[in-house]
Structure formats: structure tokens, C-alpha cells
């Protein structure tokens, strides 16, 4: 035996030395591809129309039951939230059990039971499956929707809405849906405090009665159960469920914006922007293009780390922890989205990269190596997903729900292999809309907001609150302050209403600074209905605008045209130094919005509305009453533009106080007027105002 004792370590040593030498310089070759086999499933239907899908898998002694209603989406409108309440409340009481009895029964077997607006699900060890189904069936068939449980749910929902106010991710999910589908579409509407408070028990009960019917339901059973047992259980626990007609609804297809728009929800103190770029896609599940679209999406930014968005925005630029995209086909209307959370200062750069990558797919054929890489990845995904027996059940359910060919999933890998680079280019051109995007961002308004205007076709960032309503960061005005008191204070700041009535003519003489040029500027007002503005350079008239009380004209560099329509009306309003005292004469209604700030100075914000539309917004100092700013949106050949006029350096002449500095901003263009001299009630003749 001694011999062995010595020789054994020697052999082991030899074995260790003779370990096969490997070549580390390159990746080892793969072995022969393993066969991928899809598991089996069975289907049957109960007399009441309930469809049942069974996947037997005895690896673990547990079983799950999931029942899903196949119903059209519902637009909930002013009571948004009642559908999900109905789902939540089902398990809070039945004709046989109180909420705590239901909870006790499920917890005691270590199982779980969930109810939701489109169904119910439960799971447990297989030895407890009858105990589980007993409760599940009771909850499904005999819910009582107790009033006090509704109130509890309402309180929870209102608290939940309050806590969601700081969740950038949550707000982003809501606002991107609202932007993509619109607030009046089931996929875009939002539950708010108001809609939550409007929900009644009747809403909940009638939803349950209308939609929880076996003829639109699919029960999926997966796990340690035979088909025979499943049949017995389905009949025993769900056989008495009564069938009935269920309502169907149709919705107008939401349209994508005609040009890219930027939708921004301000979130105070945000250190990142949550970007979600999206648009609707008309693509149904199982559509012949669906697999090619899925490959296209993976190239861009599906689950794969090697996707273009991840590689560009994370691995190359380090803008984000992760950037991805998604295309979800849908029977009503599908969606494309691309998203990432990025730090404030690179938000605009990140959007530029997103747009580049989306656009690139629609212009350039992908390299074959890219296509092979993505297809390999998707192949592996499919194979790995089969580890979970729920996958086969999902395949079966999708096949039923979407009317897919029976062999859709069995032949999936073949269809994936057949996708070509030309297919990708074709579907990218067909389904991606790089010029009709909703670019939604939740983030820091001060640091990020306006930088994004360059991405909007109309040059404007649209600001919304978390519920998709136009955004306002104004404080409410104190009690007693109205549009009229603000206007009165404004006239007082000039010199008082009585003084204003005595102001017959006003002449302003100064300079207009236009870029590097300084031009001579003169403006004259008379009788609140005549106005003249002349801009000259070295004695030569550069621009002249006149209003003679009735007609108006405008000349620039010798070219003259009549001023008419809206423009003429605007000119008349401008000529009337007291128009704010008689806004109705101009069809305007002043509306006090609240208190905002300009350069840390509190200002009253007053909207002038015309026929329900916003005409302009005026800002008055809370302290002095003076008007500090006026902003107006005007249509130009380049689209709508915002004109902002800032007033400062107020000077008093003969008891009248007017701004001596008027700065006008149109986009990047700044025009500054500096008044050197003001002449009050100087004698002017009507001929001074003659139109050209």
C-alpha cells in the first residue's frame, strides 16, 4: 500500500501539469448549438365561455392561476381611476368573507392573491391549490365592494398622488403617455386628485358587472398540475360564472405632432432630466413586420448593452447610467419610445444624440455584423426565456388573444433568422418618425428648460404640470387684488388716472441699438389714436410706421405697405396709452394669473385674453405698480415667435413716469431703445401722422 501512497500524489501532479493548454488570445469556439424545445400546452373552454390554457411543469411543487379579461381599453374621463379601484377592491370583501378573512386564508397557505382591473391571479404550493382557488373563486364571483373600503382606497390613492409629485420617473411615464396619446385617449388620460375624489361605489360596481364575464376571460394555469386536474378545478371554481355581452368601444387614432415638439414638466431641484422621446406606431402584435421592428429596436436600444443608444450615450459620452428604446405593438395603437436619465448640463447634448441615432436608422442600412450580433442576442433571449414555464403560457395566451397562427412561436427563430438589413431599413422608414416626435423631459426648468427650444419645430418649449395641464409657477395674488386694482396701480405709477386723461401728446426721442448699429429713434403719440415711429440712420429714413387714427402704413428701406387686419388693430391698441383702462374696446379681457418674479422682483402677471385665446401677458411690479414686461406670441413665416419687451430705467418728465429703456427680444434678436428725451403735450399736428 505504501507504493500507492506515493504514486497517487505524483499522478495528481501529472494531471495538474497536463491541463490542456489553451489559447487565451481569442474567444473559444462554441459547442454545437443545443436544441431548443418549446414546452407543451393544452387549451379548453368551459360552457360559460371561459378559455383555459394549461402548462404542466412539475419541476417545483407549486402552481399559479392567472385570469385576464380581453376587453377594449376604457376612457374613464372625469372619474379616472375607478377602473383600477374596481380591481383593487375586489379582494376587500365578498358575500362570504371579510377582507381580513381573505387575507388570513391566503397568508396561511403562504400563497398570494392579486386582483386588478382586468383580472385576478394567485399562486401557492400545489398541495394548497384548492384552498387558494376556494378564495379566488369567491373573490372573483361574489365581491361586495364595501363603501368603507372604497374610502380607504381613495385615501391611499390621494396619498400616492402626493408622493408621486417628486418622482421624476413616475411623472415622465404619465406625461409621455399624455403627449403621445392625448389626455382624451384611454392610454393618455391621468388620474388626478379631482378625478379620484369623483369616484363613487356605483362606478366601481357597474364596471365589475359589465366586464367581469367568462366569455371574455382567459385563465392560464401553470405548474404542478395535470390537464385533468386543471379541468376539474376550472369547472368547480369558475363553472358557475355567468356569461353576458360586454361593452366595446372605439377610439379615434391619436395623431403624431406635425413637427417635433418639446414637452417639459418642471421638477424643482432635479439633478437629472428624465428624457422620453416617443410617438405612436401603427403596429399590431404578430404583424408581419413585428419581428423586423423588434430587431430594429434592439439595434437602437432594446435590452442589449451593445445597442446604439447605450454605446453612444453611456459608453462613449458618459451622459447617463443607461439609455434604451422600446417599440410596443398594440391592437389599438402602439408606441415607440427612447429614454434615459441624464445630468442637467448634458440634456440638450443627449437629445441631439437620441435624434441622431433615431434618424440614422431611417437613412442608413445597418452593417451585416450588427444585424448578426443583434439576431444572436435575440436568439439567446428567446432560448433563455424558456427557463420560466410562464413563457410558454404567455406564448399560448398571446396566440389566442391576437389570433396568431398556431405555430407563430414555434417558427419564431426561423422568422428572426430571415430578417435582412434591407428589412430593417424598410421598417425604420415606415415606423420611426424622426420629425414627428414628442420629446418629453421632466427636470430642472431653470437649468435645462429653455435650452431645449432648439429641438421644437415651433421654437417653443411647452411647459406642463405633472397632470398634463399648462404649467404655472405663480403664487396666488393676495385677497383683494384684482386685474382692475393692478391696472389702477399701473396708471398711478405713471402719474395717476387724472393726469393720464390730460396727456394729449407724447414724443420720445432717443436711439435704437440694433446689434452694432445705433439708429436715431423718434416716437410720437397723439389723442390716444395716432402714432408715428421713425428710425433714421444719418438723416436717411430706415423705417417709418404711421397710424393716422384710421389707417396705418409701414415702410422699410423705401418699401411701403398698408397695415391691415390684426396688425392694424394691434397698432391702434399701441397708440392708445390708456388701452388697459378700456380693454373691452379692443376685445380684450384682463385676467390676473398670480404673482411671479422678474429678476427676483415680485410681479403681478396679467393675461389679456381675446375670444378665449391668450393675446399677451403683462407683468407689473407688485411694489411700484410699473409695467416691467410685456410678452406676446406672433405668427411669422418661421412659425410662432415669442416677442418679449422689457421696460426699465423709469424717468419722470413733467409728472409723467415712463421707461427710458425698452428692450425687445425676438428669439436671439435683441433691439434696445434708449430714450434721451421725453416731451409732454407738445403741440403736434395731425399731418405729422399721415400714412404713406
Amino acid at each position: 500500500m505504501k507504493f500507492f501512497k506515493y504514486i497517487l500524489p505524483a499522478i495528481m501532479l501529472l494531471a495538474a501539469c497536463s491541463a490542456p493548454k489553451i489559447d487565451r488570445s481569442k474567444a473559444p469556439a462554441a459547442g454545437p448549438a443545443p436544441a431548443i424545445s418549446l414546452g407543451e400546452y393544452s387549451t379548453f373552454k368551459l360552457d360559460n365561455g371561459l378559455s383555459v390554457i394549461v402548462v404542466q411543469n412539475n419541476k417545483l411543487p407549486r402552481v399559479s392561476y392567472r385570469m385576464t379579461l380581453d376587453r377594449a381599453p376604457i376612457f374613464e374621463g372625469s372619474k379616472a381611476g375607478y377602473v383600477s379601484f374596481a380591481g383593487d377592491l375586489m379582494k376587500t370583501g365578498t358575500t362570504n368573507r371579510s377582507k381580513s378573512e381573505i387575507d388570513e386564508a391566503i397568508d396561511f397557505i403562504g400563497g398570494d392573491l392579486n386582483t386588478f382591473s382586468t383580472g385576478i391571479s394567485g399562486s401557492s404550493l400545489s398541495k394548497h391549490s384548492d384552498a387558494l382557488l376556494e378564495v379566488m373563486s369567491d373573490v372573483l364571483l361574489h365581491p361586495t365592494f364595501p363603501e368603507e373600503e372604497l374610502e380607504k382606497a381613495r385615501k391611499q390613492a390621494l396619498s400616492g398622488l402626493a408622493s408621486a409629485k417628486t418622482s421624476a420617473d413616475q411623472i415622465s411615464a404619465n406625461i409621455s403617455n399624455a403627449a403621445t396619446y392625448g389626455l382624451s385617449h384611454p392610454y393618455g388620460e391621468m388620474q388626478t386628485e379631482k378625478t379620484t375624489n369623483a369616484i363613487t361605489r356605483d362606478d366601481v360596481v357597474s364596471y365589475y358587472n359589465a366586464y367581469f364575464r367568462p366569455n371574455i376571460a382567459y385563465l392560464v394555469i401553470v405548474g404542478d398540475v395535470t390537464v385533468e386536474q386543471a379541468k376539474e378545478q376550472a369547472n368547480k371554481y369558475f363553472g358557475s360564472w355567468k356569461a353576458d355581452q360586454t361593452p366595446r368601444a372605439n377610439y379615434a387614432t391619436p395623431s403624431n405632432p406635425s413637427g417635433n415638439r418639446v414637452v417639459f414638466v418642471p421638477l424643482k431641484g432635479a439633478v437629472q432630466s428624465v428624457i422620453n422621446i416617443c410617438h405612436t406606431v401603427e403596429l399590431t402584435p404578430g404583424h408581419p413586420d413585428a419581428i423586423a421592428v423588434s430587431v430594429m429596436n434592439n439595434i437602437l436600444g432594446g435590452g442589449v448593452f451593445g445597442g446604439r443608444l447605450m454605446q453612444n450615450l453611456r459608453e462613449d459620452k458618459a451622459y447617463t447610467y443607461g439609455a434604451r428604446s422600446n417599440v410596443s405593438p398594440d391592437r389599438i395603437i402602439g408606441e415607440f419610445s427612447a429614454y434615459a436619465s441624464v445630468r442637467n448640463e448634458v440634456t440638450d447634448s443627449s437629445i441631439t444624440e437620441f435624434l441622431y441615432e433615431i434618424d440614422l436608422l431611417t437613412r442608413e442600412r445597418v452593417a451585416d455584423s450588427t444585424l448578426v450580433f443583434i439576431k444572436n442576442f435575440m436568439n439567446g433571449n428567446f432560448a433563455r426565456s424558456l427557463e420560466n414555464p410562464q413563457t410558454i403560457a404567455n406564448f399560448a395566451l398571446n396566440t389566442e388573444l391576437n389570433g396568431l397562427p398556431k405555430d407563430y412561436y414555434a417558427t419564431y427563430l426561423g422568422k428572426l433568422a430571415a430578417v435582412t438589413a434591407d428589412d430593417i431599413l424598410r421598417v425604420a422608414k415606415k415606423y420611426l418618425k424622426p420629425e414627428n416626435l414628442n420629446i418629453t423631459v421632466v427636470g430642472n426648468k431653470e437649468e435645462v428648460g429653455e435650452k431645449l427650444s432648439v429641438f421644437a419645430a415651433n421654437g417653443k418649449v411647452e411647459y406642463f404640470d405633472m397632470y398634463g395641464q399648462p404649467w404655472s409657477d405663480l403664487m396666488p395674488a393676495p385677497e383683494g387684488v384684482t386685474a382692475q386694482t393692478v391696472i389702477n396701480a399701473y396708471f398711478n405709477s405713471i402719474g395717476g388716472m387724472d393726469q393720464m386723461k390730460k396727456l394729449n401728446t407724447l414724443v420720445e426721442v432717443g436711439k435704437m441699438n440694433l446689434g452694432p448699429m445705433a439708429l436715431d429713434f423718434t416716437r410720437k403719440f397723439k389723442d390716444n389714436n395716432k402714432m408715428l415711429m421713425v428710425v433714421e440712420m444719418g438723416g436717411q429714413v430706415f423705417m417709418r410706421q404711421a397710424l393716422d387714427g384710421e389707417r396705418g402704413s409701414s415702410s422699410q428701406m423705401g418699401q411701403t405697405e398698408n397695415v391691415e387686419g390684426d396688425e392694424l388693430a394691434g397698432l391702434k391698441k399701441e397708440a392708445d396709452l390708456m388701452y388697459l383702462n378700456r380693454p373691452d374696446q379692443y376685445g380684450l379681457t384682463p385676467v390676473l394669473k398670480g404673482i411671479g418674479s422678474i429678476d427676483d422682483q415680485p410681479v403681478y402677471v396679467l393675461d389679456l385674453m381675446k375670444g378665449g385665446a391668450l393675446k399677451s401677458t403683462e407683468y407689473f411690479s407688485v411694489e411700484s405698480g410699473r409695467r416691467l414686461r410685456s410678452s406676446e406670441s406672433v405668427d411669422t413665416p418661421q412659425g410662432a415667435m415669442e416677442i418679449v419687451v422689457d421696460y426699465s430705467n423709469f424717468k419722470t418728465t413733467n409728472g409723467y413716469t415712463f421707461p427710458a429703456n425698452i428692450k425687445q427680444l425676438v428669439g436671439p434678436q435683441v433691439i434696445e431703445i434708449v430714450i434721451d428725451e421725453m416731451q409732454i403735450n407738445k403741440r403736434l399736428t395731425d399731418s405729422d401722422f399721415k400714412v404713406d
Binding site: 490542456p20 473559444p28 447617463t320 447610467y321
Partner: protein, 443 residues
């Protein structure tokens, strides 16, 4: 006494009979360089999980260089002498696999989930990572920014994102659990290249790692491959720093308020508990289950449902290698005073201290545990990780099959004793997370 003995006997019999957990078979051994290998064969699906767990987490960090372990996790996807920058993930995804990693206070875990014919690719990549990972300056700079974004996304820009960091920094004064795994960005900025090299040579050595593989493969063939890829990696020569500091026993309650922009008050109570694996740890876990697992649990039933004080109330433990924490965690309903909520939570804990739980309630907890354990080993990736965990923390891989018995052995008296021993005011930190106008305005 005879009567009592009989009850104990029937309970034990019941336990044995009802334990429906599937047994996980495995083999394990050490390579000469100290690498511990665990293999579990399962041919149900043609996939394989290749994982490596390194026994280094944030608690092994130099206090002047917090965040290093997690940052290193990012860097170790950069490449090696034979793998170019960015190719690591490319190889795996091109083979139809997925990969990722994560870092905790105690360990760093890397995994690939591959089609079973690509097992060798996983071994090649993991051995390259262990043998001669290569990190270029460009990669360091890029990943530094990526980690900063990770921190912003997970903490700074998340509701209550500082909850964990605040809890740990209040609960620990001495032990390195006091800092977060993501660490300090200033520390990461200050780290020099030589420090990275030293960190790698110290911790990323075979004698500090477990290679755990589960799935569709043949054990004997795989042993040969493992030998070929890993046995040439030299054993580490540096002593591996493990914190020996023991957190001093708390003698007085620590109480603080954290002001932030989140609207609903949130109450956290953190109690010090023994390390994972201690008998008391299991008693505390069962106590938490009693308090917050399922709709019928004490906190859900009383605080959330009946009193409607909270939108959510829970209790759970951070099982860690060194003595960790158990938490109650509750978010107040709108308009509810946090102290009222805290009182309601305390009442439920006091009830456990004063009244033994019923036999039926104990049985419920055991049934929940059993259900959890049965479901726990459903994927090969999960099995590979669990095997490595049990080996790394307890030196007993077979706990994957037997740990359930430790839970099932907990008695009603044990639960009451755990509540009395650990859920005491002087052993806890209480934090209120409250809304503050200034914070909400971003100041």
C-alpha cells in the same frame, strides 16, 4: 412535561413532512490557487449561469476611498490583455447571453447567463477578468461619470433616495457599513492609478473568489475546462483587509429628522441585530414576517388597514456578513403625524413582546417560509448565486438545502425573545423624513 414533549415531537414531524423544497445537488472543490468552485447540474433548459463572487465589498474599502469596490465593478467590464475595451459585453451578447454585476457591502458578484454551448466563453472571460484585467485611462474617466449618473439616478433624483444612506450613517459610528456602496464621488476623483492596481492585486485573486456554475453542462468535462482556464492564475500575495472593528453596542436611542422635498412623512426605525446565520437572526426574520408579510400581517392589518395611518408599512432585515440592521419602514398617509404613525408601529412591536403568538400564526409563518424556499430556486442564475453566498458567508454551501430548517425551528418564544432583546429603544435609530419648503425649491 410529557404533554409538551409530545407537541414538540409532532411539530418536528410536521416540519419534515411538509418541507416541499427541491434538493439542490452540487459538487465543490478548491483549485490549488485557492479558487473555490461550485457546480450544479440541471438539464431542464439549455442554458448555463457562469458566476464569480469576490469577497470584497464596500466594507473592505479604505475610509478615504469609499465607493472603490463598486467603481471597480464598473472598471472590470473594460477589458483584459486579450479583450479590447468594450468587447466584454459584446462577446457575451453576440453569443446570445446576458451579463451583469452588482456590489454590496460584503461582496462583488459577476455573472453571465449563456446558451449551454457557450460555457467555455464564460470561463474564458471570467478567467481573463481574474488573471489580467486591463483598465485604460479613458475607461476610468468614462466610468467615473457613469457612476456619478448612477448615483444621481438611484439616490439624488429618487423620492426618498437618501433613505438608506441616512439610515446607515446614523446607525453605524465605527463599522464601515456607515458609508454607502456607491461611496463618495470626491474619493473616486482622488483615486490614483496605482491605487486601482493595488486594489486589483489585493482583492481580485483566486483565493478571494468563488466560481459558481449552474445549468446544462457535464460536471467532469467542465472541471477540466475550469482547470485549464483558472489554475494558471497565481494566488494573491497580499493580505486581504477585512474590517475587525466591532460596532459599539448602542446605549441610547438616536433620533433625527431628515428634511427633503418628498411630501409624505416617512418613519424609519433601524435596530441592530446579529450577523446573518446567527440563531437570533432567524428569529428576527420570522418576527419581521409576522409584522409585515401579507395582508394579514400585524402592521398591514393594524397600521395600514384598520387605523389607516400609512400608505405602506413594512419590516425587514439587512442580512449582512457582520452584524446588520432590521428596519421598520412606514410612509404616512396624507395629513398623518409621523409620531402618531411611529406610536402605532411600536404598539404592534410591544404586542409581540407581551403576548406569545398563537400556534396558528406561527404555522402561517412557517408556511410562508416554505413557499418562499420552494420558489427561491427556480432559475439557474439564482441557484448559482445562492450557492456562492452560502459558501462565502457561512462556509456551508449545503445551507441551500438546510437553511429552511433554521427558520422552521424558530418558536413562538424565540420570536417574543427576539422582540424583547432587539426591538428596544436604546438599540435603535429613528429617522423621520419630512417635507421642507426650502428643499422642495431646490435650495
Amino acid at each position: 412535561m410529557r404533554y409538551l414533549g409530545l407537541i414538540a415531537f409532532t411539530l418536528v414531524a410536521f416540519v419534515i413532512q411538509t418541507n416541499a423544497q427541491r434538493k439542490i445537488d452540487f459538487v465543490e472543490y478548491d483549485l490549488k490557487n485557492g479558487l473555490h468552485v461550485i457546480l450544479h447540474e440541471d438539464h431542464s433548459t439549455p442554458i448555463v449561469a457562469v458566476t464569480v463572487m469576490y469577497h470584497v465589498g464596500s466594507k473592505n474599502e479604505n475610509p478615504e476611498r469609499t465607493g472603490m469596490a463598486h467603481f471597480f465593478e464598473h472598471l472590470l467590464f473594460e477589458g483584459s490583455e486579450n479583450i479590447g475595451r468594450g468587447e466584454f459585453s459584446r462577446y457575451i451578447e453576440n453569443a446570445g447571453g446576458v451579463l451583469n454585476a452588482n456590489t454590496s457591502n460584503d461582496r462583488t458578484f459577476y455573472y453571465e447567463l449563456l446558451p449551454s454551448n457557450q460555457l467555455e466563453l464564460g470561463l474564458w472571460l471570467e478567467s481573463e477578468r481574474m488573471m489580467h484585467a486591463k483598465v485604460e485611462l479613458e475607461g476610468i474617466e468614462t466610468q467615473r461619470e457613469v457612476v456619478k449618473e448612477e448615483k444621481r439616478q438611484r439616490m439624488d433624483n429618487q423620492p426618498y433616495g437618501m433613505l438608506l444612506a441616512e439610515t446607515m450613517s446614523h446607525a453605524y459610528t465605527e463599522h464601515p457599513y456607515k458609508w454607502t456602496t456607491i461611496g463618495s464621488m470626491e474619493h473616486l476623483n482622488a483615486a490614483k492609478e496605482a491605487e486601482f492596481q493595488q486594489f486589483y492585486r489585493t482583492f481580485y485573486v483566486p483565493n478571494n473568489a468563488i466560481l459558481s456554475i449552474a445549468g446544462d453542462f457535464n460536471i467532469e468535462d467542465t472541471k477540466k475546462l475550469i482547470d485549464a482556464y483558472f489554475s494558471e492564475i497565481p494566488k494573491g500575495t497580499f493580505a486581504i483587509p477585512r474590517p475587525t472593528v466591532v460596532e459599539p453596542t448602542k446605549t441610547a436611542e438616536v433620533r433625527d429628522t431628515v428634511w427633503g422635498k418628498d411630501q409624505l412623512p416617512l418613519v424609519v426605525q433601524a435596530y441592530h441585530i446579529p450577523a446573518e446565520g446567527d440563531d437570533d437572526y432567524y428569529a428576527v426574520s420570522m418576527l419581521n414576517k409576522l409584522l409585515s408579510d401579507g395582508g394579514s400581517s400585524r402592521l398591514n392589518k393594524s397600521v395600514v388597514d384598520e387605523k389607516q395611518l400609512a400608505i405602506f408599512a413594512g419590516a425587514f432585515s439587512f442580512g449582512m456578513e457582520d452584524p446588520g440592521l432590521t428596519l421598520t419602514f412606514s410612509m404616512a398617509n396624507m395629513g398623518v403625524d409621523p409620531s402618531e404613525l411611529e406610536t402605532a408601529v411600536n404598539e404592534e412591536v410591544d404586542r409581540v413582546k407581551n403576548e406569545l403568538i398563537t400556534e396558528k400564526e406561527l404555522q402561517k409563518l412557517k408556511n410562508q417560509i416554505e413557499s418562499e424556499f420552494v420558489g427561491g430556486n427556480a432559475s439557474v442564475a439564482g441557484i448559482a448565486e445562492s450557492l456562492a453566498n452560502y459558501r462565502m458567508y457561512f462556509g456551508d454551501t449545503n445551507l441551500i438545502n438546510t437553511e429552511i430548517d433554521k427558520y422552521l425551528a424558530v418558536t413562538a418564544e424565540d420570536i417574543r425573545a427576539a422582540a424583547r432583546k432587539y426591538y428596544t429603544p436604546e438599540n435603535r435609530v429613528v429617522l423621520y423624513f419630512m417635507f421642507d419648503e426650502n428643499a422642495a425649491n431646490g435650495n
